[in-house]
Point group: C2
Chain length 348, copies 2
């Protein structure tokens, strides 16, 4: 421990000189090539350890034309700070990070707010990465199609889109929206609001599931109950306050995310109404907090961490020049307190 020389990191040639072998042999020994005699290998490894030698990664990356780095880009439409703090992203990031680590890849986090994803293509970040994972499509589906044509493979979390030319992984949004809405109808609600910006592809799909459920039950769609709330706390409060003040009748809401649902609950509480008694709420994502909230949150579970793994595995296949199909992960309704169903039924 203590006897390690604190020398400036030797170059591979210097280590080779010390060992009395060629640079090539050192290189092979360090990468555990079977073509080097075990004894030589052991000796070189010991010397490397002793002299505290480490391969210059920048030289190695250059030579090998790869960096072992995967870039993760969060596609957020508004200010990044608010969005990134959505536990949904964090859990996704966690799933991705774990899976990347298992495959000995590093994670480069790209600065999020970008008006034009194409700028990313010119950036150092992009050049330095072996592949890129986009979380969300934002409203830049077409630009992602352009990026997909580059040499750097990409995988995108999002909704299936017409003319899509990139590999996609996403949740089953139609079913998610449908399940949430049907559940609220089943517990007797009839004036169900939909909180979410339907210009975003994923939200649009959930909204179509919402409409399908209403149709099935013969409930008429009330356009005033669809509110374009972005994924952000502050905005949610304002918009919901507005709805509450507008006196438009509603007794339930399907929300675009759990964070939005929590925010809605807080706003509703402040206005003197109660959840679920006056207004039943269903969230989306099933973030960790959902089961600790008060009331506990009925929500549509997306297996976020697993989604992260699928994204990474898909990217790895792409890196191996394989053809990769899109993946749609199933959605599951988790019934807890906020939707006003009888307790005990399928709760977690």
């Amino acid at each position: 421990m203590k006897q390690k020389k604190i020398t400036a990191p030797t170059t591979m040639q210097e280590l080779a000189d010390i060992a009395g072998v060629s640079r090539g042999t050192v290189s092979r020994a360090l990468s555990d090539s079977p073509r080097v005699k075990e004894k030589t290998k052991a000796r070189i490894l010991a010397l490397a350890e002793k002299h505290n030698y480490r391969v210059n990664q920048k030289a190695r990356n250059f030579r090998l034309r790869r960096s072992g780095v995967v870039c993760v880009v969060f596609m957020l439409d508004i200010k990044s700070e608010q969005h990134m703090s959505d536990p949904f992203f964090l859990e996704m990031l966690g799933g991705i990070a774990d899976c990347l680590a298992e495959h000995d890849l590093d994670l480069l986090l790209a600065h999020a707010p970008m008006t034009d994803v194409l700028e990313l293509q010119d950036s150092r970040v992009f050049q330095n990465s072996d592949g890129v994972i986009f979380i969300g499509q934002g409203k830049q589906h077409d630009r992602l199609n352009v990026i997909a044509k580059s040499d750097t493979p990409i995988v995108v979390w999002g909704a299936p889109m017409p003319g899509q030319r990139y590999c996609r992984v996403g949740g089953d949004n139609v079913t998610g929206g449908y399940l949430a809405t049907r559940h609220l109808l089943e517990v007797g609600r009839r004036h169900i609001a939909f909180f979410g910006d339907v210009s975003l592809p994923e939200i649009a799909l959930r909204f179509s599931g919402y409409k399908k459920a209403l149709r099935e039950q013969g409930v008429k769609l009330d356009r005033r109950l669809q509110i374009d709330i972005p994924f952000e706390m502050q905005h949610a409060r304002e918009s919901i306050d507005e709805l509450l003040n507008s006196r438009t009748k509603f007794d339930a809401a399907v929300c675009g995310s759990d964070v939005m649902a929590l925010s809605a609950i807080a706003t509703i509480n402040e206005s003197g109404l109660r959840v679920p008694d006056d207004i039943a709420i269903v969230g989306y994502d099933d973030i960790g907090l959902a089961r600790y909230a008060s009331p506990t949150l009925t929500t549509v579970r997306q297996n976020i961490r697993w989604a992260g793994r699928v994204l990474v595995e898909s990217l790895l296949s792409l890196l191996n020049s394989q053809v990769v199909a899109d993946t749609t992960l199933s959605s599951e309704l988790i019934v807890r307190q906020s939707s006003g169903a009888q307790p005990g039924k399928n709760s977690t």
Copy 2:
């Protein structure tokens, strides 16, 4: 737009050939050297654009011996997933990311759970980074001292330590613990618990602030009220349940983080007691959620995003071979509902 050739990225030599100049001139033109005639420069830039040429970053990094990447390592003692999801980390990460972006640096996120930080030194992550920011010291202060001796500059978020040889940035933990405790004493509480693992340096300092406040008011320290709760939801619940069941008298608690405080509040609610009426709670960090929680959270504010900036600025100074002093950021008490103070007083 459409007329861009979709050619394989040309090498700089190829672009030079097209332009009829030398590789060196292209290199200088692209880095906007004043030593190239404006006209030539413009012509080369146009050609680069036309042929969709981009500098090979891996070659550039190698040549320049820097990557433009800063690595961020979260020093977590237990399972990473739970910790990383603490908004404290996210907000810190956000502050760091913003500041790095302003300085045109990229952010590499190192996989968190590590038993021995020294392993990091051998990793590709470390070699690839121009500098490393550690969030927290965990219990590895000594190993951080070792890493500080390497060529890669590091900055650490944490508590001042004896014999510390790395650059440190941290909050004023003693004052924070003191302010939280004094506030609870001022609102009439006398049996104040302290929730936090005092074997962690920062928590130990807050605990000393806590003791100082008790001493000042002549309140005797009750050792049974100091509970080693790690920064994690699940554990918090168990430990607090245990305390509640032990019938040890307590009417308030200073918590190691806001997340812990929120968890404590949930646990207390479930046991049938109320916050702040039965038990007053003060958190730590002032995460975004604190003002939306119910009850809203009295807490010690650490200006987390600014802390992120200070970490980055310190690292940059180190990268410029400057001597950098430690920074201690001030702590501020934010009074809201959970501590049972009269409303309106300094609340946000």
